[in-house]
Structures are given as C-alpha cells and as structure tokens.
Symmetry: C2
Subunit: 111 residues, 2 copies
DNA sequence: CACGTATATACCTACTGGGGTATATACAGC
DNA sequence: GCTGTATATACCCCAGTAGGTATATACGTG
C-alpha cells in the first residue's frame, strides 16, 4: 500500500516517526531505543523514505534520519471533515461532566 | 491489526468514513455511491463498527450508519507532536499533493 | 590493507486481510 | 404464509507484507 495511511498503519513505523518527531536519529539509535533488529529498522526506514515521511543525511558511515512532514500533513488534511464531530463530542463530554459535578458536589471530575 | 491506524489504512474504509462524515447513510447507499459489492461494504462496516468508528441505528430492515469520532480523535492526537513541522511546510504540502495526484493515473509498476 | 562498525539488501516464510460468491437472517407488504 | 428487499456472515482464494537470518556495501582507523 502506497498511501500515507497504509504506511503509518505499522506500529513500528509510527514508533520510529514519534522518535524522530523530537529529534533526528541514526539507525543505531532507533534500533536500540525501539529494541528492534537492525534490518527491520532499515526496512521500515526505507518504506518511510520512499513515501516521503523521512529523509536521511549522511554522516560518515551513519545515516541520520529526520522527519519530512508532508505525508503527515496529508493525513491531517484528511481528518478535516471530521473535526466538526470533535466539538460536538467535547461539548457532550462537558455537559456530562457538568451534570456529574452538580450531582456530586465536591467530587472532582477526571480527565 | 486493531489500531485505529490499521483500520483507516484501507481506502474503501476511508471512503465510507468520508461519506458518513457529511451525513448518515444506509448500507445500500454506501454500496451504490462507492460502487462496491454489498458484502464488501458490510464487512468494512463491521470492522469500523467494532473499532468504534461508526455505529448503526436500526430502521426496519435497514441499518443507518453514522460516525463515532473517538478513534479519529485518537489519530488526530497522535499527529500533535508533528504539528510543529507544519508551519514551515505549508506550501510544500500543495506540491506534495500535486505530485500524488500526478502519480495516480494508470497502474504504476512495482519495485 | 585488515578489521570493526554502520547500514542496506536479498531471500524465505508465515500470516493477515480484502475480494468474490453463495447463503443465512430479518423485516415489510400483500 | 409467500415474496422481495436489506443486511450480515461463511467460506475460499490470493497478494501483500512484516519478521528473521545471512550477506553485501560503505566508511573510518590503526
């Protein structure tokens, strides 16, 4: 599957992306931090690279990978039509929490 | 694969969700508007239902499906750490989507 | 140049998951 | 009841893909 959605369906790939979100890293660093085998990391990185999620900078024998945001922006854009449900949901949750609070004054609502 | 990301990896499921985003629909309506076979629609709807993306209201023999936003909110939340990359690349997304669109027509050879 | 390190790739295997056809179930109207 | 409609499910088949092991490639250092 070549869509951005197919790419991030894989948990290990999401984990890689999440790590790279905070800072760029080498293959080795990813391998250790995610406790995956090196070929597995490389394979996932290749998929991510080809799909435009990451790019690599060469540093001697190392490849330092970093995020390229475009495909994730595409996912973000796809979510747009659904965002109108967010507010409704949040409102419903707030009303719910208000009722809870009124019914049991003194008890702290969670979340 | 049971994560929300795995669920929306499937293009037909995304199409179903996108249709439901504007309004609730019956299985038949989805079947026609997406030109899919009925069992296929039902199967995808079952996956979506079990993962909490949709719910069905019974109307005689019909089931009217509608969006439940929670799993998509989860996806939205996952994107949060990456949003700091957005601003720098706003117009890069346009170029990216143009390229995607160009790559569409015809089946491309694989690697 | 030999050796260790860092990364990529090839190859095989096993599993999953989607498509299709046929069938079951549920309901409505006559 | 019988018939048509609406939806779900069972079953089979096949392609894609992730994991693992072994190997290739590239680079740096002594």
């Amino acid at each position: 599957m070549e869509s951005a959605f197919g790419i991030i369906a894989e948990p290990n790939r999401r984990a890689i992306l999440s790590l790279l979100a905070s800072s760029e890293r080498t293959v080795r660093e990813l391998e250790h931090q995610l406790r995956m085998t090196q070929p597995s990391v490389s394979k996932h990185l290749r998929v991510l690279r080809r799909a435009g999620f990451v790019e690599a900078r060469v540093d001697a024998q190392r490849r330092v990978y970093r995020i390229k945001p475009e495909p994730l922006m595409e996912v973000d854009a796809w979510l747009e039509p659904f965002r109108r449900y967010w507010s409704a949901h949040v409102d419903a949750l707030e009303r719910h929490l208000d009722r809870m609070q009124q019914a049991r004054p003194g008890k702290r609502a969670k979340r």
